[in-house]
C-alpha cells in the first residue's frame, strides 16, 4: 500500500502536492515511517531545501548548538552533532551549504526523545553547516563554518 502511494506520488507528480505531503510527513512525528522527502533531498540550494522542508524564513537562534570541528581534515567523514536545550523539539535537519544537495539528514523526534543527535557527513569543500530545528511549530536555525583541508596536512 505504501509502495502504491509512492508510485502515485512519482507519477502524479504535482510538485506542489508532493511538497505538501512531504512537509506534512515532516511535521507528524510518531508516524510509522514518513515518506522520504525527495524534493528536499534533491534541492540544490539552501533556499530550495528550506522551502521543501516548509522551513522558509527560519530565524537565527542561539538556542541550538552545532558540535563539530572547526577544521575537518577529511571531508569524507565530518562528525556533526546538533543539540538544543529547548523543550518540545519536533525535528532537526542538517544542511551543508556547498554540497551538491545541501540536505544531509533530517530527524523526526517523537515526544520524549531528546534534542540531541550526532552523525557523520561528507563535505566537498569548506562550507557553512546549518542546523534547522522545528520547535512548537516554528523553525529556527543556526550555522557554523567548517573548514575542510584537502591536502590533509592540517594547514
Amino acid at each position: 500500500m505504501n509502495m502504491q502511494r509512492r508510485e502515485a506520488l512519482k507519477a502524479g507528480g504535482g510538485l506542489g502536492l508532493f511538497g505538501l505531503l512531504a512537509a506534512a510527513g515532516l511535521i507528524t512525528p510518531g508516524q510509522a515511517r514518513a515518506e522520504w522527502n525527495k524534493s528536499a533531498f534533491d534541492a540544490k540550494s539552501i533556499e530550495d531545501t528550506l522551502k521543501a522542508l516548509g522551513a522558509t524564513g527560519a530565524e537565527n537562534s542561539t538556542d541550538i548548538q552545532i558540535t563539530a570541528p572547526d577544521i575537518a581534515e577529511n571531508g569524507a567523514v565530518v562528525p556533526v552533532g546538533v543539540v538544543s536545550a529547548l523543550a518540545g523539539v519536533e525535528a532537526i535537519a542538517i544542511l551543508i551549504e556547498k554540497n551538491p544537495n545541501p540536505l544531509a539528514a533530517s530527524f523526526m523526534l517523537p515526544a520524549g526523545t531528546e534534542a540531541s543527535v550526532q552523525t557523520r557527513v561528507k563535505m566537498g569543500q569548506t562550507s557553512d553547516v546549518l542546523a534547522v530545528v522545528k520547535v512548537g511549530g516554528k523553525f529556527i536555525m543556526t550555522k557554523k563554518e567548517i573548514k575542510v583541508t584537502l591536502g590533509g596536512c592540517g594547514g
Partner: protein, 103 residues
C-alpha cells in the same frame, strides 16, 4: 545482504543513549569508477528506531551521510533489558533490522 549494525544502548538516570553504526556503502552517485562511468547512487534513505515497539526516532538520510553511517541520539525512559530495534531501508529497497537489549 548488508552486514549487521552495531548498536549500543545504555540507560542511565532515566535517559537512554543509543549509538548505531551501520554498514553501508553510501554511494553518492557522483563518483566515477576507474573506467570513467558514474557509480550509481546507493544509500540509506530512511531509518527508524523503536523502543519496545514505540518509535523513538525517525530519520531520513541523503547522499551526504558518510560511508558506514554513525548515529547517536538520546531518549527519555528505557530500562535495562528493554528491547531497542533499529531498521533502515536504502534506495534500492534493501533493508535491515537489528535489535539489542538496553544495558
Amino acid at each position: 545482504m548488508a552486514d549487521p549494525m552495531k548498536i549500543r544502548a545504555s540507560a542511565k538516570d532515566g535517559i537512554t543513549e543509543v549509538k548505531v553504526l551501520m554498514s553501508h556503502e553510501m554511494e553518492t552517485g557522483q563518483r566515477k569508477d576507474s573506467s570513467g562511468n558514474l557509480v550509481p547512487a546507493h544509500f540509506i534513505t530512511e531509518l527508524s528506531a523503536e523502543h519496545n515497539g514505540k518509535q523513538v526516532l525517525a530519520a531520513q538520510f541523503g547522499t551526504a551521510v558518510s560511508k558506514n553511517p554513525y548515529l547517536a541520539f538520546k531518549f527519555k525512559g528505557g530500562a535495562k533489558g528493554d528491547k531497542l530495534a533499529v531498521s533502515w531501508v536504502d534506495n534500492k529497497g534493501d533493508k535491515r533490522t537489528d535489535e539489542v537489549q538496553i544495558n
